[in-house]
Amino acid sequence: MATPRQDQTPLPRDRSDYRPPRIGAVLLKLRNALIRAERCRQVLNQQDFSHQRWMEIVTDVHPDLRFMVRPQILDAILKHLESADKPVSRAALARELAIQKVGTIERIRQCISTSLRTRKLALFPNNTVGLPQWKKIEIE
């Protein structure tokens, strides 16, 4: 049976003085925790902690929290761009990574768009994408 969505929970019965919560402070703590978890993952990755060992951690983590530690599609995108050493067509990049089973083609395309928006990737002429630091070199 499907569980009801949390945000569909009705308001408390005594609604006369109901005041919606301010949850911003908690959300900022969650944001910081996610950033810290991601930094730890990257440091372990840089220190040759194998993908297999990382996946052991991922499967140990409670399913509700697993999203915090699962490998990111962006990792594979960055790795691919670093090895290509030049901007790559968006379509070709998505196709190539989908073949490598990094994720579905829709998820990869979505990740490319989000990363361009948040400037983790940079857009180059002819609808190609590359690393943001390449843009700086191009300007210089």
Partner: protein, 127 residues
Amino acid sequence: MQTWQARWLDELVRQVYHVNLSQCRDFAEFKGLLNFMMANLLEVSNSLGCELTDDRRIRRAAESLKVKADRLLMLCNDVAESFDAPEEWRAVMAQIVVNYEILRFEAGYLYQLVVPKSPFGVLRSAL
């Protein structure tokens, strides 16, 4: 280190109420929550009243969010002042909920532009 713009938005995140109009069961609840939503819209509009940055993308996103907040605030004002058909409140609520969802989405987008390292659009979740 965080920019002053990021700290500014974080302060907004702390100030706003987490409003979910679709939880409302009757007209009284709807009108009660509407006041908190209007407080949120006012807070968003006032926070974005000044020049946030020279960055064109951020400026455009902030302007668009401010326009949406002001428009929705006007709609909510009309509802709060002159709405006298409590039997039709669900239709009005649906219209406001849709507009508020769009505003929340844009708020999350602006947040991620200003705080690119943020793993999610914190302002969207807070609203």
